[in-house]
Subunit: 710 residues, 2 copies
């Protein structure tokens, strides 16, 4: 690709970014959009109503930037939880890494690359100059200047490892500090017990009671049995729908809507009073659900939330094998009550097992199917091929601007569109895998998404562009560095446009929240508010973290190959810093708190990126006829892996649980526990088993929610 | 190989066995050999002195067989510990497996093999008939009779898995029962704590005291700090030698020995009174060691044995991460006091790390070096090649008997000689790897030895005999079944002779205890008793279990290929049953008790053997042009692996620790704990730090042992 195509792409995306910023700064001031741009403030009742119309409302402004810049990390912690802080630390970490890389890359490596003359180019026209001349490919074979690249690889690895260590330590300390400062929480005192053995004489619930009060008389507090509630869940969701419909009907003034035909063959039935009909139906459903609730005793799932009087007590039961038969009385960490994924418990063991197998297959199929858009994208970057396939396009493609748009902008756009579809699929896949908590599903989906992205965006593009898409190259470990060294530098320019399109514009559109904006607009015009549930959005970690990490991977691998990517990345991270901070403070509300356990995923991904860079370096120095540098690079991945194994020992255990020291200190701190113990006994409850009462009012905003006070 | 060579080998070994049995039954009656053949009874003082000479002493008898047959498993448990029982269960398990295999193999498979005519042979001379005609190679290609083999593979796998399940359950129940019935033991209440953090103000010992009495005030009992004692150990072992020498000098009557020259240049020094000299030297060494003992405070190792008041207390500390920094306050299961491998603690972290790396290299080098004897052995089985290499041997080799001895007996004998050298090397390697207990070293050496044996005896012989010794075939997983199917049946006869030589004769020589017998004999004639330490021998699990398991592997893989091996194996297991039982009751005394944790190694090895058999079956059915049977065998290894993973979940956790249920029940049983707690406080003590006092008497058998009563 030539420089002008890159500039076209940068131009388009810069324009889009400014458009989005301007639109946002105007739209956010419209009171109707408060639900979209400040749902947290709305929910917290902090937003002052601004009904008076004035000119200011129509002028773009940048006040939101400073308002999201100012809050300290403590404020962020209190508003977005530790997960939000960790998310921001990922961006800050990347900024630090690429600031260093940028200085080294632009001041030392770029001039050396540019001064080489391996690639013969036409110097007369600068804008048509191939971007290749800025990459390591342009350095002469066997040149002594490559030792600068070699030094840069070592220095960069040392710097990244140092930062990784500091960051891991910082976050693990934050995690402990967060634990120390937290209020007593039900999940700290509770253990999820599975595999409760059946006895003919007693119910499972009595069995749990007996076991724990016999063996832990001084520690055991209470337990909450889990039941099969699929039926009740269905009845309640149906009743919920009917109650919404009813509320809508009552709120409308037109009598024409109050009367209608119902049922499958409604056309042949007489018209009836719909309000009366739905009220009757709602009552029936409620009665039905209540009857089901009272018939639960035989539907026990062999799982229970068992609560203990102290944190250490729960930890003891969690860590020591309980029953003589290791397949019974299995214990695992209880999630927070609001984080429990209840449908999981109703699924049978077999359905979960089949689900697991299916998920593996689905991931494989998804990866294969995703190769189709990748081929299309790579076809677009090679225009000549496109012309031979579709000769009628020749005329259009010869227009300079259009061909630049097609090679520079379109490929990344298409890839981005397809990538939008993947995260919901991954979450769905993770949810049928048998996790007991939403946070676990999110984390598992994050991992899946990360490897999917790295494989399908990085490797698929790299390998399809030069060599064929061959999985089997990874079966010949010796060849991998050489193949990567040939393939990776060739895709540098594609990834620069990818950063611009997917990094800049996606982040800017994250600010604009286009989808919620449109659905809110449509909702306001065509439906009444009551017909829709108002739910606070939460940051979709499983799609955002992998995309940030992919940019990290691109930056790390291309740092010494083609430093031109670094300024674009830095701009991306600056944008991301300010925009995600703003969204975390104003838009997203944390649905769960994992205590920063997303960080180990980030750490692993960074170490993987470093080792990938080392492998490419080994290959590149070999290709460039500097075998000594190539062999001297080999210790680097080994040192990095040793560093990683040290970090795993030093920090990872803290992310898997809390040390006894903390738990005992926390248990001894003066807290009024009696109140809390009372609340603890009722903290875990299947939403399907809460008292059923659907409001029939029409005036409230939150009308159709379950009323749990009754 | 032809039948007559096999018969020669069987004949030689049968003769040897009978010779050994006869010798044993005579020698055991000689009072001078009591230390060799009944050291346990001697140590326990149960052996009646039999000084009167009578003719019966010179006649062979078989009374020992019935006396070792009669005791029940409970008696065996009380005398040999659970490890001894598990060891016997391995043999019983193998007997059951190969009794079933023998019935199926000899009644169904052998006739089918023999009736085939794939291999053209001369029927006129039965003794010269190739043994190949009894193997699956003789069945005609594509014959429907191969479905019998197919069915046998399925039935055998099902039978073995069923037995494995029963046995795993039996032993895990035994283990729990053993725990329930055991006296309170120090290791149940103690945890080894490592990584004790240094503080400038206090010693490590004070640090331990503070930490555990602060966080576990109601559970903490006492602790024993570990010190660097390399110097003291050296002084004590030197003093030990001097004291032995002294005792010997005092016991001899010859005055000529009392005077002599000492030192490196002794020849030029005047003669002195040696008794006086050594007494002086011993005193010096003792004083020196005592001074060193009093100077220990600065030589603390950051490790301590911390004892708790209850078993559950120790388990809590063991399983829950203690310190905020996961590299500090590391806890691990404490070994029994007599099982602790003290030298380990004096080794620095770096020396242990280097040791670990060295062990990996040493294992690789040993494996490569061991290939030399394997090549020699395989050369001997191909006589023609030997003749071309050494033409002068032609005359000798043409004598029928000699050539039969060379092909039938010599190869296994040579292999056996080399194999004798390996177990001590493996134990030495394991001991520098950083295990804290002798039992852990033994278990690790057992694992190393097992894989070494399987690789170097089974695979090296199989692959060098037909294809070249190529490690890289395992890089093409699809080819493995075919290569094995070609190579394995060809080595059937070699392994039959291997069973006869290494199985029968080795086991019989185990009864005779040739090496201890000779050293005892030499010792009695040339040295006085006092010059030697009398140590009770213990069963060398690390060399015996792998050899039993190798025969299991041979039996399982050759069961359907060449059922002729099965009767030989059955004889071997019968011999092993009676001989090892006898040795466990009379000779070996358990040095440690692992609670049956050798069983998981046995289980894994059996599952591996089954899967190896399945792979060979897949290959063989393919070669024999029965592709349907080949494909239908593929689910078998998958089912076996699923079975294995179930067993791992169901039983393995019990072998890694004890469940809370057991510990709490045991803690509550009425035991007089105050006495035990007192003993517990002094249970762990570095032998180098015990009070030093060397006896100067000459009359006692145990004279030079450390006197710990002072």
């Amino acid at each position: 690709m030539i420089l002008s195509a890159l500039l076209t792409s940068v131009g388009i995306n810069l324009g889009l970014c400014f458009l989005f910023f301007t639109l946002y700064s105007v739209l956010r001031k419209q009171p109707g959009n408060a639900d979209v741009y400040a749902p947290r403030l709305v929910a917290e009742g902090k937003l002052e109503p601004r009904i008076n119309f004035n000119l200011e409302r129509l002028l773009p402004s940048a006040g939101w930037v400073s308002s999201s810049w100012h809050p300290t990390e403590e404020e962020l912690l209190s508003r977005a939880g530790l997960d939000g802080v960790v998310f921001m630390r990922v961006i800050i970490f990347s900024l630090k890494v690429f600031a260093f890389a940028g200085v080294v890359g632009l001041c030392a490596l770029l001039p050396i690359n540019f001064m080489g003359n391996q690639i013969v180019i036409d110097f007369s026209d600068f804008t048509n100059k191939s971007l290749e001349s800025f990459s390591i490919s342009n350095v002469n074979d066997g040149s002594k200047k490559l030792w600068v690249h070699f030094g840069a690889v070592y220095a960069f690895t040392a710097f990244v490892c140092y930062l990784l260590y500091l960051e891991y330590r910082y976050i693990s300390l934050k995690r402990l500090a967060y634990y120390y400062s937290s209020e007593p929480k039900p999940d700290q005192f509770t253990v999820l017990v599975r595999g409760i053995p059946k006895s003919s004489a007693e119910s499972l619930s009595a069995n749990v009671e007996k076991f724990f009060s016999e063996y832990y008389p001084s520690l055991y507090l209470s337990h909450y049995m889990v039941y099969h509630t699929t039926k009740i869940q269905k009845l309640i969701s149906e009743a919920d729908k009917v109650s919404r419909r009813l509320a809508y009907l009552k709120s409308t003034q037109k009598t024409s809507q109050r009367y209608g035909r119902v049922g499958f063959l409604g056309l042949f039935r007489p018209k009836i009073d719909l309000v009366e009909y739905y009220e009757k139906k709602l009552e029936e459903l409620e009665d039905n659900a209540r009857t089901q609730q009272s018939l639960l005793s035989g539907k026990e799932v062999p799982a229970a939330f068992v609560s203990f009087k102290s944190r250490l007590g729960a930890a003891v039961v969690l860590h020591v094998q309980q029953g003589e038969n290791p397949t019974e009385w299995l214990t695992e960490r209880a999630p927070q009550p609001e984080d429990v994924y209840w449908p999981f418990f109703s699924a049978s063991f077999i359905s979960r097992w089949i689900g697991n197998v299916m998920v593996i297959f689905a991931c494989v199929i998804l990866t294969i199917l995703f190769f189709i858009p990748v081929i299309i994208v790579q076809g677009l970057t090679n225009l000549d091929q496109l012309e031979t396939w579709f000769p009628f396009l020749k005329g259009i493609l010869n227009i300079a601007f259009i061909s630049q748009v097609i090679t520079g902008y379109l490929p990344s756009l298409i890839l981005k569109m397809f990538l939008y579809l993947v995260p919901p699929v991954m979450i769905m896949l993770s949810s049928i895998q048998g996790y007991v908590a939403n946070s676990q599903i999110e984390k598992s989906a994050c991992n899946k998404m990360l490897w999917f992205t790295i494989w399908n965006i990085f490797f698929a593009n790299v390998l399809s562009g030069s060599v064929l898409y061959r999985v089997n190259i990874f079966l010949e470990p010796k060849e991998v560095p050489n193949i990567l060294a040939v393939a990776v530098p060739g895709q540098a320019t594609f990834f620069v446009t990818y950063v611009v399109t997917n990094g800049w514009t996606s982040t800017a559109s994250e600010l604009l929240r286009l989808m919620p904006l449109v659905s809110n607009f449509v909702g306001r015009i065509f439906f009444t508010k009551a017909d829709e549930k108002f739910e606070l959005p939460s940051l979709p970690y499983s799609s955002e973290i992998p995309s940030i990490l992919l940019f990290g991977l691109l930056g790390i691998t291309y740092f010494f190959l083609s430093p031109l990517i670094l300024p674009f990345l830095l701009v991306y991270y600056c944008l991301a810093y300010i925009i995600y901070r703003h969204q975390l403070l104003n838009v997203y509300s944390p649905k769960f708190e994992t205590g920063g356990t997303f960080w180990p995923i980030v750490h692993n991904s960074m170490v993987f990126s470093l080792i990938l860079m080392h492998m490419i370096a080994v290959g590149i120095f070999g290709l460039k006829k500097l075998p000594l540098a190539s062999s001297l690079t080999i210790p680097l991945p080994i040192i990095t892996l040793l560093f990683n194994s040290y970090c795993r020992k030093r920090f990872l255990p803290v992310f898997k649980g809390y040390p006894a020291e903390c738990m005992i200190k926390k248990d001894r701190s003066n807290e009024s526990m009696s109140d809390f113990h009372e609340r603890l006994a009722t903290a875990y409850q299947d939403p399907a088993l809460k008292p059923i009462h659907f409001s029939r009012r029409t005036d409230s905003h939150n009308a159709p929610l379950l009323a749990s006070e009754t």
